[in-house]
């Protein structure tokens, strides 16, 4: 609104009004009413997620939200491990430093079931806060399930539902060697042996969050993390299947990995594939979609995608869901909900998909033509592959291990075990037996009943 002593030129007023109107269209019920007072004028919202493609887009579009609601938004997006540590610390003490947080998939059960987040059902049902066509049921049921607590209430609205897929950045080398895209774990080793170090391209790398990237192989060999999550939490990390899987996977890194493979973070992996320095990896579309970006990807013409390899026990692609939630200690819950509602409205998610975002959680987006078109990279249909994987995961339920509140501690043990084997410090058997012993100690310390 204009200040009496500082008349704003007509044009600027028009633009402001247009922006507010535009953003207001995304926030029905908040559009200027009652004399034009903005609903959350003077409120400062603190939002934090880890740095990823969708939050990056949101950060670009923030001014529209701010213009429509009058709120000021501080959007903090550090790296994944830093974010998780800070969020966990803040939530555990029910602090009010953040109003909107990312509900990270491996922590979702821990945070939700300790009562550190606010249930969102009332906000969703309230017609004054959420327009009718926002449609919570448009979000995949498989994506909403991890965000639901044991009490049946929803604590987070998913912004990404992604599955682990295998990508080859230099598929031309595979074809030159006369081989096809690897389907089984044995195939993978054969292909890697044939293409490793050809044209100075290393064979395989994976982001060193092995509690995420290794588990599909653990399952493929017939092993599992717990005996029967979430009821029987006795860990099964020292079974012969688990050890075999660990040895296989660590060997991939040792034999075919680039220098320093075990220090690779997700962004380094994406970068390495974009530049064509490494050939194969397993990653979610959140990252793989970037390989189709003509501006930065040098391998856009030689890239190919497929499902994660099948092992003796079957194919078990990992899936992950991240959502936006409201901490229990937040002092601006209504404003926080307005933000979440705007960030995940059909218009905003549709806009993201049109901008090339690769792993939406709304069925309407996944089935939209825009999305399917954008996700066909060099002949591989990323969208189809990830949907297949997500449906597979929903059927077999092999992601239940992640819904356990004590998973973060086990996650760390898996990371260390693979690191130890790949760096040659311990044999697979020793590393996994150590992981098993440490996990039991951690579970006991966390009060889990074994």
């Amino acid at each position: 609104m204009t200040h009496p002593s500082h008349p704003v030129p007509e044009r600027r007023r028009l633009l402001q009004a247009a922006a507010a109107l535009g953003a207001g269209a995304l926030l029905p019920g908040l559009a200027a009413a009652q004399g034009g007072a903005k609903k959350f004028a003077g409120v400062t919202l603190n939002v934090s997620t880890f740095s990823a493609a969708y939050p990056k887009l949101l950060q670009q579009w923030l001014p529209e939200f701010e213009a429509a609601t009058g709120a000021k938004v501080n959007f903090d997006a550090p790296s994944f491990p830093v974010y998780n540590q800070r969020a966990d610390l803040e939530l555990s003490t029910r602090g009010s430093a953040y109003d909107v947080v990312n509900v990270t998939f491996i922590y979702s059960s821990r945070w939700i079931n300790s009562g550190w987040l606010t249930p969102l059902d009332d906000f969703i049902r309230n017609p004054n806060l959420t327009p009718a066509d926002w449609d919570i049921n448009d979000f995949l049921p498989g994506a909403r399930a991890p965000e639901t607590g044991r009490d049946g209430k929803l604590y987070g609205v998913p912004w990404t539902a992604e599955a682990l897929l295998t990508a080859s950045s230099r598929f031309d080398l595979v074809e030159k060697a006369g081989l096809a895209f690897p389907d089984t774990t044995d195939d993978l080793v054969k292909v890697l042996r044939a293409v490793n170090k050809k044209e100075r391209v290393a064979g395989f790398v994976a982001d060193n969050h092995y509690g995420w990237t290794f588990v599909p192989y653990l399952h493929a060999f017939g092993g599992d993390v717990f005996r029967k999550a979430p009821d029987d939490l006795f860990p099964t990390l020292d079974t012969p299947e688990a050890i075999a899987a660990g040895e296989y996977y660590a060997n991939l890194l040792k034999e075919f990995g680039p220098d320093g493979a075990i220090t690779y973070q997700p962004d380094q992996v994406t970068q390495a594939l974009k530049l064509g320095r490494v050939n194969f990896t397993d990653a979610g579309q959140l990252h793989l979609a970037q390989l189709g970006d003509p501006a930065t990807s040098k391998t856009i013409k030689t890239v190919k995608f497929g499902l994660v390899p099948k092992g003796p026990a079957g194919r078990f692609p990992g899936t992950a869901v991240h959502g936006l939630g409201i901490p229990a200690g937040s002092k601006n819950k209504e404003a926080a909900w307005a933000f979440i509602q705007w960030a995940l409205s059909k218009q905003t998610t549709g806009r993201a998909v049109a901008a090339g975002y690769g792993s939406p959680a709304r069925r309407s987006d996944i089935e939209s033509a825009v999305f399917r078109d954008k996700q066909v990279i060099n002949g591989s249909d990323l969208a189809k592959l990830s949907l297949e994987s997500i449906e597979l995961a929903a059927k077999t339920g092999h992601m239940k291990y992640r819904t356990v509140a004590v998973y973060p501690q086990v996650d760390q043990q898996l990371n260390k075990a693979i690191e130890l084997i790949a760096s040659g410090q311990l044999s697979a058997k020793q590393a996994f037996q150590q992981a098993q012993a440490n996990t039991i100690a951690e579970l006991k310390r966390a009060g889990a009943r074994l």
Partner: protein, 302 residues
């Protein structure tokens, strides 16, 4: 101000005035050091974990954390790593600092400037030092790696290799702290009296003999104090590990301070982490006492 009426009254007034000046400091120090330390020790007697604070703040088994510590391989390993890191980096720092001090102990504008320039690593914010060495140790951007590769001796990533990761951190730590020893030895070198040196020179002693028989015995106490000081400070090592290796690969560079950090701030096991911190604090206390004794008694000797 009031004129003193009697010597006693004046003394008492003085004492009161001093007490007035001293008490805010004592009160503040008490509040921000002793009280938290006490809270720490108390918390270490509980299995306090923030996933369920009410249930876990109990004293039924006060030594539970300490018992677990004794059986915790990761903790015991972290102590071994800490000792390895401290020993290697302190010895290297002493060596490099001593060498540079001997080299720079002279009178010229170049040496004067050099003495100031060599201070830089020590006063940089530790996080900046960590970033500098992150760049040095990342093969993609490191000038060292690229130069070696161009010369035909390609070097694999030092921080990803369990055999070299700890040495890499030790090297970075030495680079950061050698100026400390250098400063202290330089100050001490300037206090060596002239007469023994001149007498020995007249008798035909060469430089090496001078160093061995006059200089070293003189600066040895300073080296010892320096070493102990750096030893205690080395227990605080954090930014280097946080940025360079995260305690890895595996647990090769996971020192006790870092392990405590993970337990407290990654998993909110505050009771357990308090126990770890208490153990660290006890160690620091013992070593500080030793330093204090040596520092004080040394002065009395002179």
């Amino acid at each position: 101000m009031a004129h003193a009426l009697s010597a006693d009254g004046w003394q008492a007034e003085r004492r009161r005035a001093f007490l007035l000046g001293l008490s805010p400091s004592l009160a503040v120090l008490l509040l921000i050091t002793l009280v938290p330390a006490a809270a720490l020790v108390i918390a270490s007697f509980t299995p306090l974990s923030l996933t369920d604070p009410a249930a876990t703040f109990r004293f039924d088994d006060p030594l539970v954390n300490y018992r677990q510590l004794l059986h915790d391989d990761r903790f015991l390993h972290s102590i071994a790593v800490q000792l390895k890191l401290s020993a290697s980096s302190v010895l290297l720092q002493l060596g490099v600092g001593l060498g540079l001090a001997l080299l720079l102990n002279g009178k010229s504008r170049l040496l004067d400037g050099a003495r100031t320039a060599f201070l830089i690593p020590m006063v940089l914010p530790p996080i900046v030092v960590a970033l500098i060495w992150k760049i040095m140790y990342t093969p993609d951007v490191s000038p060292i790696h690229r130069a070696l590769e161009a010369a035909g001796w390609p070097l694999r990533s030092l921080i990803a290799d369990p055999d070299t990761a700890l040495w890499a951190i030790s090297l970075a730590d030495t680079w950061q702290w050698f100026p400390f020893t250098m400063l202290m030895v330089l100050a001490s070198l300037q206090m060596i009296p002239d007469e023994p040196i001149e007498a020995a020179t007249l008798e035909g002693a060469n430089r090496w003999q001078l160093l061995r028989h006059i200089v070293f015995p003189y600066i040895r106490p300073v080296l010892v104090v320096c070493g102990l000081f750096r030893l205690i400070d080395s227990f605080k090592a954090f930014p280097l590990i946080y940025v360079l290796t995260n305690g890895g690969p595996g647990s090769v560079t996971e020192v006790t301070n870092y392990y405590g950090f993970i337990q407290a701030f990654n998993f909110s096991y505050w009771g357990y982490a308090s126990a770890i911190a208490t153990v660290l604090l006890a160690g620091v206390f013992a070593l500080s006492w030793a330093v204090g004794k040596l520092g004080w008694s040394d002065h009395d000797k002179r």
